[in-house]
Symmetry: C2
Subunit: 360 residues, 2 copies
């Protein structure tokens, strides 16, 4: 474990070598253990980095240079495009809607309704969404939908808010709305420019993939995701419009935590319990990112195997380690720091916990 | 990778050291890679062993001595108690029901109905099940239930068939049905004796845990799970009643693959496509076991992080390597050997594949 210190592998200086091929995997340490009865049953390896705005890695373990896809953890940074271009203002996008643009939401009625109404207001409909449809992650909402004989629309897709934002931006830019998810579309190009400036990387030759909702993903070293979130927390070195956009996106997430995920979700609970002192955002395949404005720090986590139960425990542990959780937040978030494992009889049969010395 | 050879760490000789504390984790190799676009996004480590009935490890990678919980992969061996005691005969348990006793089923109507009817026939009801209730894993069945305003009963629990078997055995033994899931209950003691003989272990001091459905789990080295399945495949060294019970359970699984899992499930597809030449059984937390009767071999897999997508690909790869898949089975099972990853727009965005040299 690295002590808080300057490091020579400053991610802000990575600009020129982003085109390098992904490195072969090093052996990341076990960060999380899953116990059952007398023993550890499963283990999750991974890496994390806590960075300041200068790209100094203050706390880390594992290979923070390994290239990862940020997945949905990047959404708050993608939402900057909506705000800093003036699109949000031009289309009277509310703070709740900005929060929804940052969301991987559970498809509760409040999410799906807000996503549909936003589209209606800008003269579009759910048919313009190119994210695909899926049943709500929130099981009671799924069952309620089925009980009414309904099927999900693209507004129930956990990414619908982000796509609403992209469509709003497309209209504002005078670009075609159809095809807004494509790499070469002006919306995605605008987003790409922001991601490059925030992460300190030239992403033109970065590994590329397609996300679960169809939008572009760019591979970047884990440490650079942390740097991007540090700059989101404290964007003093960014253009003025971006500084204002960061402030608005942070405020939107802090004031509408339920729009960022859902009533039963980790992100919503952490943002609410910390009253926005930690702006956390989950991503698929075990990615998690956070901005801690009061410390000017960014956090990025990747669990090697992609498991969310592990990334959440690491995020809770890091926020605790950074002193972001006051007594009240710690009380509320205790079940997230070391969740118990309950079986179908609602008996406690094990626990998910940080591995010894995962965070020191 | 160990070549096919005798090994000094013969799991059949482990009887006296089963009480030893679980060993610290070694670094198991990456067995499965999950790709997206240009790069590998996630990686799964683990271990596997292919054993014969003498406990010889013919093929393995990783730490086959590490203690694991077999979880639901052990169900076919637990079902032996139902048959070899004469309980199945006394209560006219059908082959389909024996297959259900081996199942982690999807809660499709055919599973839940069969589980409920079995109980009715022996003078009990779903209220006697101590496994707890959960919504069906099979999403269309879940939605159909919700659409009819119903909620799941314990018959929908994926383990209900196994619990039916335990209740049948309790009645046959003249033991109380209430509490049949407890470590000290005659049903569980009978099952424990069978697991000890099949695995070659004294499990009295083995690490213990409680399964998702409330029943006892005993920790055992991965290699011994493979040995137990080899003996299930070819039980020549077991008592005569057990040999007959193994034959009946194998036949039940082979002839009723849909009862073992469900129409959309890996286990059902593999057993059906191989016409019972591979009797595979999944378990929670990345465990998988198989019996290959024609080769007299047992297979056991544990993915360190507990992920099913990885254990399935390893199982498919091992069956392919062992020559169990003829051309027809290989055609049917090709999507299981290297599943493509599709997004919400139904585009192929990546793949799940064996890591280079995971199986050689």
């Amino acid at each position: 474990m690295s002590p808080p210190t300057d490091r020579s592998d400053d991610p802000s200086r990575n600009h020129d070598r982003a085109a390098a091929a992904p490195r072969p995997p090093a052996d990341n340490p076990v960060l999380v253990e899953v116990t059952r009865g007398d023993m550890v049953e499963s283990r999750h390896r991974g890496a994390f980095a806590v960075c300041d705005t200068q790209g100094r890695v203050l706390l880390s373990t594992g290979d923070v240079e390994r290239t990862i896809y940020p997945r949905s953890a990047i959404k708050p940074l993608q939402a900057l495009a909506l705000v800093e271009t003036g699109a949000a203002e031009a289309f009277a996008v509310s703070d709740a809607e900005v929060a929804l643009a940052c969301a991987s939401h559970d498809g509760e009625p409040l999410h799906a309704d807000a996503a549909a109404q936003w589209l209606q207001r800008i003269g579009l409909s759910v048919d313009d969404l190119e994210c695909g449809a899926h049943w709500p992650y929130h099981e009671p909402s799924l069952r309620a939908l089925a009980a009414h004989g309904e099927t999900p629309t693209p507004a129930h897709n956990n990414c619908s808010g982000k796509h609403d934002g992209f469509l709003t931006l497309a209209k504002h830019l005078g670009a075609p709305t159809a095809g807004y998810i494509r790499f070469e579309h002006p919306v995605q190009q605008r987003v790409l420019g922001i991601l490059e400036m925030m992460s300190g990387l030239n992403l033109g030759d970065a590994p590329r993939g397609i996300d679960g909702c169809g939008i572009p993903q760019y591979g970047m070293p884990l440490g650079n995701l942390a740097l991007a979130f540090a700059r989101f927390a404290e964007p003093d070195d960014q253009p003025e419009r971006r500084q204002a956009a960061c402030a608005r996106v942070r405020r939107a997430m802090a004031e509408h935590p339920v729009m960022v995920a859902g009533h039963e979700r980790f992100c919503t609970k952490v943002i609410a319990a910390t009253q926005g002192r930690a702006l956390v955002k989950t991503g698929a395949e075990g990615v998690f990112a956070a901005a801690v404005p009061e410390l000017g720090l960014g956090v990025a986590i990747k669990i090697d195997d992609g498991e969310k139960r592990a990334s959440q425990v690491v995020m809770a542990g890091l926020l605790d380690r950074l002193g972001v959780l006051d007594d009240g937040a710690q009380r509320v978030l205790a079940p997230l720091l070391s969740p118990s494992l309950r079986n179908r009889r609602d008996e406690t049969v094990g626990a998910i916990r940080l591995a010894p010395e995962a965070i020191t």
